[in-house]
């Protein structure tokens, strides 16, 4: 990889030089790229491990001693919760209302019913999948199973007493906050690095959710590659992150998918309307905006309800977010709500760089319901 002028202190720009870190947390890989001094970077590295461990202990649905699991066990009865839990619950309730209920944290039972009752790594081992991509292309077309699914509790059933710092779940309404916690953790930790450690610029990414601040170098902007859904080793193009578009999130039915004992392919995006894996026309969606949490929520909503309905709801909510989606018919869609800088922000790679294989698109069409 090319080396840069940031290697030595003599040529380092104001604010320090670039540092890269990565580690495993919350069943995904967390990346940090920071423009900081060596001392700031060392502190940030240690704090990152501790922060994500803290978040995991609060919100993991796989740890019986997590606060989330305790809250789920108390369903129907009020329970005192931490300020951290309260903040995420408020956020989930807010987005539940804004998206008309398509974003719902009450999908834990549906996930467990579909087989996602252990961590994804264990799930892959159980289902015997080594390379999930080939199988998972059909995930969006997963057939419905015969057994009846329970209905999803409305978001209004989540009762929060902010004065008492208490939460009450509806009977049978177990929470899974995995749909928002990663982006929230990224956003919150970026805030900590910026304000507490005074780090001038950085990019933090957990799974497909990321946020940025500052600029990576003098008169530069952050720019990220967007993974191509049909070419996992290639990028569709790049997304420029600056101004009011500093965060991004990608949701996909192709990533976290697995095989049921009957050989049926399933994925983790549950449609609250059916309490089953979504079956929309969107295979992958990337949303960019100011807040990583908002981006993650809308990326999921568009994947769940489909391109037309999802972008309609995005506009209806008055959101400034922009969306890019790959539909199962092989098309790429960009939302109309984007401003005049849209063409500069979303840069599709030249065709020669991204080999779009027609055969694969044909496969997707054949497997569509």
């Amino acid at each position: 990889m090319p080396r840069t002028e940031y290697r030595t202190e003599e040529t380092a720009p104001a604010g320090g030089r670039l540092h890269d870190f990565r580690f495993r947390a919350m069943n995904t890989t967390v990346y940090l790229r920071l423009r900081a001094s060596d001392g700031q970077a060392a502190k940030a590295k240690a704090a990152a491990a501790d922060w994500f461990r803290f978040v995991e202990q609060r919100f993991s649905r796989f740890r019986p001693d997590s606060e989330l699991c305790r809250l789920n066990r108390a369903e129907g009865r009020p329970m005192m919760v931490s300020d951290t839990m309260l903040e995420v619950l408020e956020l989930a309730a807010h987005y539940g209302r804004v998206t008309g209920g398509t974003f719902s944290p009450f999908v834990l039972d549906a996930l467990a019913r579909s087989g996602y009752d252990v961590s994804y790594e264990q799930l892959r081992e159980r289902s015997g999948e080594a390379g999930a991509h080939e199988d998972s292309r059909n995930a969006a077309a997963a057939p419905r199973t015969a057994d009846a699914a329970p209905s999803c509790s409305p978001i209004s059933a989540l009762r929060l007493d902010l004065g008492m710092k208490a939460a009450t779940l509806p009977p049978g309404g177990a929470l899974d906050l995995g749909g928002i916690v990663k982006s929230w953790a990224v956003e919150r930790f970026a805030d900590y690095l910026r304000r507490r450690l005074d780090i001038a610029a950085g990019l933090i990414k957990a799974g497909g959710d990321l946020t940025t601040w500052g600029s990576p170098g003098e008169q530069e902007h952050w720019s990220i590659g967007i993974e191509h859904p049909w070419e996992p080793d290639g990028n569709w193009g790049t997304l420029r992150l600056d101004g009011d578009y500093r965060a991004a999130a990608t949701s996909s039915v192709l990533g976290r998918s697995w095989s049921s004992p009957t050989g049926e392919t399933r994925h983790h995006l549950i449609d609250p309307a059916t309490m089953r894996a979504s079956r929309s026309d969107v295979a992958q969606c990337t949303v960019t905006g100011m807040a990583a949490t908002e981006c993650e929520v809308w990326a999921k909503v568009i994947c769940i309800v489909g391109w037309a309905e999802g972008t309609f709801r995005l506009r209806l909510a008055g959101s400034d977010c922009e969306a890019l989606a790959f539909t199962r018919d092989g098309r790429t869609r960009l939302s109309r709500a984007a401003g005049p800088a849209r063409e500069e922000r979303w840069q599709e790679a030249a065709a020669a760089e991204i080999p779009l294989t027609r055969f694969e698109h044909s496969n997707i069409r054949r497997n569509s319901p």
Binding site: R7, R22, R24, N27, A49, D83, E87, P216, L239, T250
Partner: protein, 119 residues
């Protein structure tokens, strides 16, 4: 008796002068100056805001309770934290480079670290 008192006064004066000299040395040292300027750089309003952030309070108080002697967010906090993380087997294996990052313009589009996809 009078001589004893005078001797005590002399010890006290010498001690006071010694302390004053020590404070003077510390106060004129570059390290002290650096620490003062670093603290002054944090706006008072922001510090107050941070201290009122309940999430940070819960997080950081957990660290302090777990390892009172550890610097918050320090290496020791990472090693002796709240027990084994429940993320993945193998815990948190760090990879990366300190101050050795590739140019952002090339890293962005090609490096896996800066790709978004499949969450």
């Amino acid at each position: 008796m009078t001589r004893d008192k005078w001797f005590k006064w002399k010890i006290a004066m010498a001690g006071t002068a010694g302390m004053a000299f020590l404070f003077h040395v510390i106060k004129t040292s570059p390290d002290y100056e650096a620490a003062v300027s670093q603290n002054a750089a944090v706006p008072a309003a922001e510090t107050a805001e941070e201290s009122q952030d309940p999430v940070w309070q819960e997080w950081l108080s957990g660290v302090e309770t777990a390892q009172p002697e550890a610097e918050i967010g320090g290496e020791s906090a990472q090693r002796r934290g709240r027990g084994e993380p429940g993320f993945d087997t193998g815990g948190q294996g760090w990879q990366g480079s300190d101050g050795d990052a590739a140019d952002s313009r090339t890293w962005d589009a090609s490096g896996d670290a800066a790709r978004t996809g499949r969450s």
